[in-house]
């Protein structure tokens, strides 16, 4: 949710419908609620409700009789930072939270300070703390400050023009993926066997990262791209930065490849002096990226042909379906 023109439909179209950032300027205003069903990771069905932001339409959605918002697990609330109307926008926000507290008590809140590209570089810090304090002030009734401190509310600064969009959305998706921890442990084991620098699992359609495991903190420092990392995700470290960049790079390439004879991007192998990188399909719904140090090219027990054939794909797939499988296969 969020005010009209704040960029909700743009984001959704980029993440789930393969729009490029430029193409979003063609979108018209959303009327009422647009519902998108996305099959995510085999048996996880995401229903995404893109709610219209125009005042009267929003009022309609928030009407007590309307049960569209019932049992919602995550609310993404979008503020257009280039255009906030005080105090109206904050009051609307508080109304939405109040309503959701009634209908969906366990709902998590993600607040996006969107169109962040339009804020001048040196004003970013102040802009952010200003909005946060305004939210705290208007949100006394809903105990916003408490929610913010205990992590029920997460804040991200985003723009469709860089990978911050993917960062925020993969945090949202991580919130929804069951058993992310089991997968992470499993990645840790594979990475030990392969002596990998990093492993990242992506959902194939949206190319959002779901889980990752990195060994790179133990080794020398790695090139850290100068992104403006904001709180809410600084503790995810550089892996997060990288995986969002990869999401964005791959989605761009995948799109332009499809213009040539409908080519569908499938896999990538890259060797350089420092690393060997494989990106391949893992299951119907997941892709894996594997980064190995180049020095061990010859000793590595895997070769690119059999990432797929190994058991890892099966294992992770089972994990999505069967809740009880915990015995990790050490021999992959």
């Amino acid at each position: 949710m969020g005010r009209s023109g704040s960029g909700k439909t743009s984001m959704r179209s980029m993440i789930f419908n393969n729009y490029s950032a430029n193409e979003t300027s063609r979108l018209g205003a959303t009327l009422y609620v647009e519902r998108t069903e996305v099959r995510f990771l085999n048996n996880l069905n995401l229903s995404i409700l893109d709610c219209a932001g125009q005042d009267n339409l929003m009022k309609n959605i928030l009407m007590p009789g309307n049960n569209q918002l019932a049992l919602c697990q995550v609310l993404i609330y979008v503020f257009d930072v280039s255009n906030i109307e005080e105090p109206k926008d904050y009051i609307t926000f508080v109304d939405v939270i109040k309503r959701l507290n009634q209908t969906s008590p366990s709902c998590k809140f993600f607040i996006l300070f969107h169109k962040w590209d339009l804020v001048m570089e040196h004003e970013k810090e102040t802009a952010k703390s200003n909005i946060i304090s305004a939210l705290i002030k208007s949100g006394e009734e809903i105990k916003f400050h408490e929610l913010y401190l205990n992590g029920t509310v997460k804040i991200f600064t985003t723009t469709i023009w860089n990978e911050t969009l993917y960062l925020a959305w993969s945090r949202v998706v991580e919130e929804l993926v069951p058993k992310a921890n089991i997968m992470k442990n499993y990645l840790k084991k594979i990475s030990r066997v392969l002596n990998a620098k990093e492993l990242i699992i992506f959902e194939r359609k949206s190319f959002l990262s779901i889980v990752s495991y990195s060994n790179m903190f133990d080794q020398d420092n790695f090139y850290n791209f100068n992104s403006d990392r904001n709180d809410g995700y600084s503790h995810y470290g550089v892996t997060a930065d990288r995986s969002q960049k990869i999401s964005s790079i791959i989605k761009t390439f995948r799109k332009s490849a499809s213009y040539y004879n409908g080519g569908k991007f499938q896999k990538l192998t890259l060797h350089s002096r420092s690393s060997i990188i494989y990106l391949d399909e893992l299951t119907d719904t997941m892709a894996i990226m594997l980064v190995l140090p180049n020095a061990m090219l010859n000793e590595s027990p895997i070769n690119q042909q059999n990432i797929n054939n190994g058991n890892s794909g099966n294992y992770l797939q089972n994990n999505q379906n069967v809740s009880s499988s915990t015995n990790a296969n050490e021999n992959n």
Binding site: N22, K197, E198, Q219, D220, N221, F222, Y223, F225, R242, K245, I246, I249, I250, T252, F253, S256, A257, Y259, Y260, N261, G263, K264, F265, Q266, K267, L268, T269, L270, H271, S272, R273, S274, S275, I277, V291, Q305
Partner: protein, 330 residues
């Protein structure tokens, strides 16, 4: 190997935008904010050849005013190629007069200069009208040239910074300035024939301009995919570059150069793009359409091996050309 190219055209015709998007990686939509250029600006694009590129501001008429800064003669002295930009969305009568002055000057003073006309901002016309507008400008220029009794071969290209066309056209123009082009084309054709390659480009890694391509017909969407693949490979690899905290920017740059990436990706159903970084910030990008080669380890080994031989040939040719510019045909 050196060459000198100058960009001319009336003001706001798009010269700076072209330089920014092609050579400095700017996003086309950001060029809207560019200031008009008021002084001749020059920079050197170092890759397979060292190309000196000079942009002449459009608001000065070099042929009528007695222009104080620098005489047009001295600017044009060692120029190999003139790229003249016409804004086809604008009234182009004044432009054509200016272009005629440039052409007749060139004919009188440096007849060897190659002249290319960019019918620029062609994105403003629909597909159907593009050939018409090109033909209209071409006819007018050649008619007027004829009238003043000149004859000069001029190439016309429709371009826009909002799509791949500017990259393709600049590639074509620049590759014609490479002295050893025939030899390079020759070895590239050999590579293509012996490796079941459909199409190959020898590109500059940073700008993605190509200097050499094989003689099979080119396709701009394919070139676009290939150039995007260069970006993808370089970008993903640079996420995993080892660095030290006290590295300077130039150290990081030079480390990137040393990386020598080899990469390939599979595009279903049966396409593959293969890339190998080579000397002088060049890279070979090839497109393959063959099930067997795509999936077998053997096929890949052959490709790697052939690409390596190609790189050796490339090094020899460049070496040879640098030593004795007149004898480049191996």
């Amino acid at each position: 190997m050196n060459a000198h190219l100058i960009l001319m055209g009336l003001k706001r015709s798009g010269k700076s935008s072209i330089v920014q998007t092609v050579f400095h990686g700017a996003e086309p939509q950001n060029t809207i904010l560019l200031d008009t250029t008021s002084k001749p600006t020059t920079f050197v694009f170092r890759s397979l050849i060292d190309l000196q590129i000079t942009e002449l501001p459009g608001q000065v008429d070099y042929f009528q005013d007695t222009w104080d800064d620098q005489d047009i003669n001295s600017i044009m002295k060692d120029v190999d190629c003139v790229v003249y930009v016409i804004d086809c969305l604008d009234e182009y009568k004044a432009t054509i007069n200016n272009l005629l002055n440039v052409v007749s000057f060139a004919l009188d003073n440096c007849p060897h200069v190659k002249i290319h006309v960019l019918v620029h901002k062609i994105d403003g016309f629909s597909e159907d009208f593009k050939p018409d507008i090109m033909r209209e400008i071409e006819n007018q220029v050649s008619y007027l040239l004829c009238e003043i009794g000149h004859e000069k071969h001029i190439d016309y290209h429709g371009t826009s910074i909002y799509n791949q066309s500017i990259f393709e056209v600049m590639s074509e123009i620049i590759s014609n300035l490479v002295p050893c082009l025939p030899s390079l084309e020759n070895i590239l054709n050999h590579l293509v024939q012996h490796s079941k390659i459909e199409k190959a480009f020898l590109c500059d890694v940073k700008t993605k301009l190509y200097f050499v391509t094989d003689s099979s017909p080119s396709d701009s969407t394919l070139y676009e995919v290939c150039s995007q693949f260069i970006d993808l490979s370089v970008d993903i690899n640079s996420l995993y570059l080892p660095t030290h905290p006290d590295d300077t920017d130039s150290e990081i740059q030079s480390r990137k150069k040393q990386q020598k990436i080899t990469s390939h990706c599979t595009l279903l159903p049966d396409m593959k793009i293969y890339l190998k970084q080579m000397i002088k910030s060049l890279c070979l990008v090839v497109y393959i359409k063959d099930d067997q080669l795509c999936d077998s380890i053997n096929g890949q080994a052959i490709l790697n091996y052939n690409a390596k031989i190609f790189e050796e040939g490339l090094a020899k040719i460049i070496d040879c050309t640098n030593k004795d510019p007149t004898d480049y045909n191996l």
